[in-house]
């Protein structure tokens, strides 16, 4: 096989796998460019990427969880807790590095709690994370009694506002996390084990996979991703808001599912999730640019999700 045909084959494969959803993304972009010429600009694409970063990163974590056939509804609350932990660290006098470490550790711990309750006590993850969603949301309000907390650290806030090599730092963060998640998922035996466990838990056990451990680690990944999202969000806002990230878990789930991740487990990719997140970002940005009233935005967003998932399901059926 020559190199060119190998590349062509890869393209054909990608089109088959992501055709439905890529089509949705391209269609949205075309429609918006048509309706507002300013949509198609480098600056605006930077905007979209930055706006979607928080959702995209949370959605990377969510992809792992859904791949396992589980769900994590506490992601939005973890985002808020992360920002608040960061703010409190600075209030406590810590520097940037330690504060970041503590924040990410907090995310890992919250994820671990979700994982342990799900894997060890055999409670359904839906109900576990509905419960911890409330618990973490309650926790975030305790230090300030519900008020937002200012973040007084120029490195932290620089993440959300400064650039690096001509690109906003936020975009670098998304890119790096995407590559890491993508490689771990598709190229390591941990990723392969996640697919096996999500596809057939029983079979995974018979193959000698420690499914409990994988489950706990994956909830921790989700927690860490959410914590990083929280860092980005609070850095963009110069503050930790106690209502930050409210219902972002639904956007993250929507991004993953739009990207072809199956809620039944066993199927999904990071590439798909990234495209899914972009669809959500483009949609929000485009409708703002067109001054679509809020309520219509809600309706259009719902419709676009339905159409995109439907196109995807159809494309997958046609393939078979």
């Amino acid at each position: 096989m020559t190199q060119q045909t190998a590349a062509q084959a890869a393209l054909v494969r990608a089109m088959k796998q992501y055709g439905g959803i890529l089509l949705s993304l391209v269609m949205l972009c075309v429609i918006f460019s048509f309706l507002n010429p300013r949509f198609m600009s480098v600056v605006n694409f930077m905007n979209i990427l930055q706006q979607v970063a928080v959702i995209a990163i949370a959605a990377f974590g969510m992809t792992w969880v859904i791949l396992l056939g589980e769900i994590d509804l506490s992601v939005g609350s973890i985002i808020a807790v992360a920002g608040m932990v960061g703010a409190q660290c600075f209030a406590f006098g810590l520097g940037f590095g330690p504060a970041l470490a503590v924040t990410i550790l907090a995310g890992a711990l919250m994820g671990m709690l979700n994982g342990v309750l799900t894997a060890k006590l055999l409670l359904p993850s839906f109900i576990v994370t509905v419960a911890t969603m409330g618990i973490y949301r309650g926790l975030v309000s305790l230090p300030t009694n519900g008020a937002p907390a200012m973040i007084d650290n120029s490195t932290w806030t620089a993440i959300g506002t400064e650039g690096f090599l001509g690109l906003p730092i936020i975009i670098w963060v998304v890119a790096v996390l995407f590559v890491i998640n993508q490689i771990v998922l598709s190229k390591t035996s941990f990723g392969r084990r996640a697919y096996l466990t999500g596809g057939n838990r029983e079979a995974a056990i018979y193959s000698g996979i420690k499914v409990d451990r994988i489950k706990i680690i994956i909830f921790m990944i989700s927690g860490v991703m959410a914590a990083i999202s929280g860092v980005l969000l609070s850095s963009r806002l110069f503050s930790a808001q106690t209502n930050a990230g409210m219902s972002y878990e639904l956007d993250a789930i929507a991004a993953a599912v739009l990207g072809g991740t199956s809620l039944a487990g066993g199927v999904g990719t990071m590439v798909g999730t990234l495209i899914g997140a972009l669809i959500i970002g483009v949609m929000n940005n485009g409708m703002n640019m067109l001054s679509v009233p809020y309520f219509y935005q809600l309706i259009v967003k719902g419709l676009v999700i339905l159409v995109a998932v439907w196109l995807d399901v159809r494309a997958k059926q046609a393939k078979r």
Binding site: N36, R38, S41, V43, N44, N47, Q51, V54, S141, N145, G146, A147, P148, M150, T161, L233, R236, L237, F238, S239, Q241, T242, N243, A244, G245, M246, N284, N285, N288, M289, L290, S291, P293, Y294, Q297
Partner: protein, 272 residues
């Protein structure tokens, strides 16, 4: 239990935190019992909170309504049980309360519009970040629109919803991207205005765009002092409101007469 039961709209906003703190401080000062329940912007929860106050047997109920109309059910229940009701911040429609203490939001909106006209030399295109499901915000925005309408060279070119600070940031960025000739942004609250100021800075338009907010909590006032983009903020006085609410409640409990309306006119805060 005797004393005052207070049902507040939310606890995730500095305005209401200051209001609650002022109420608690004054209750301590006056030596009356005060219990605070948070409706979390859910009218049904507010009704349940009031029902539970009635069972507990408080003397007076202070409500900052989730919604002017829907709060009627809670007020009627309390009155049926013989408990007097005082509203703060948001007035009640369709039910009479013993007293209402609140900011005149419409006037505040007008003041914001006039300030905007002043800093922009009576001309230019402005944008608004709003929260259309909250009546007091609707009043502010209406006041703002009325003030702008008086200036023929001024125009509101975009209105977008941005309820949380994150949403407001995205809305402001996108409005600036869609309308690069915007010279002023009015945020319905401090969060919206602070987010707009971040968006202006991110877009590199500090020299061109002015931002005005509403609420005037400390973070926003500091921003007005230090950030030239934030040219002003309409300042509410939750501390006065909370103190006055408790004072009124104490008077009502003692059987004294109180005025039915106790408006608190908002101030305009500009850089020192």
């Amino acid at each position: 239990a005797e004393g005052i039961g207070a049902s507040l709209l939310t606890q995730q906003h500095p305005f209401y935190i200051e209001l609650a703190d002022a109420m608690k401080a004054e209750a301590k000062e006056k030596n009356v019992a005060l219990e605070v329940a948070i409706a979390n912007q859910d009218l049904n929860k507010q009704l349940a909170d009031v029902e539970d106050f009635i069972v507990k047997g408080v003397d007076v109920i202070v409500i900052s309504p989730v919604d002017s109309q829907g709060v009627r059910a809670a007020i009627e229940k309390a009155e049926k049980a013989g408990i007097k009701v005082i509203t703060v911040d948001v007035p009640a429609n369709g039910a009479t309360v013993t007293s209402h203490i609140g900011t005149d939001n419409f006037t505040g909106g007008v003041k914001a519009g006039e300030l905007m006209a002043k800093v922009l030399d009576n001309k230019g295109k402005v944008a608004v970040i709003d929260y259309p499901t909250v009546q007091s915000v609707v009043n502010r925005v209406n006041g703002f629109k009325e003030a702008i309408a008086k200036h023929p060279d001024m125009e509101i070119v975009a209105i977008q919803t941005g309820i949380t600070r994150a949403e407001a940031l995205a809305a402001a960025q996108n409005m600036l991207q869609a309308n690069p000739d915007i010279t002023g942004i009015f945020g319905f609250g401090d969060d919206a205005a602070l987010a707009a100021a971040v968006a202006v800075k991110a877009a590199g338009l500090e020299a061109q765009v002015k931002v005005i907010g509403f609420d005037g909590m400390k973070e926003a006032r500091d921003a007005v002092d230090t950030n030239p983009v934030m040219v002003g903020v309409i300042q509410q006085f939750p501390d006065q409101m909370g103190k006055q609410a408790v004072d009124t409640a104490v008077k009502v409990a003692a059987g004294e007469q109180v005025p039915a309306e106790q408006p608190i006119v908002p101030g305009v805060y500009t850089a020192k």
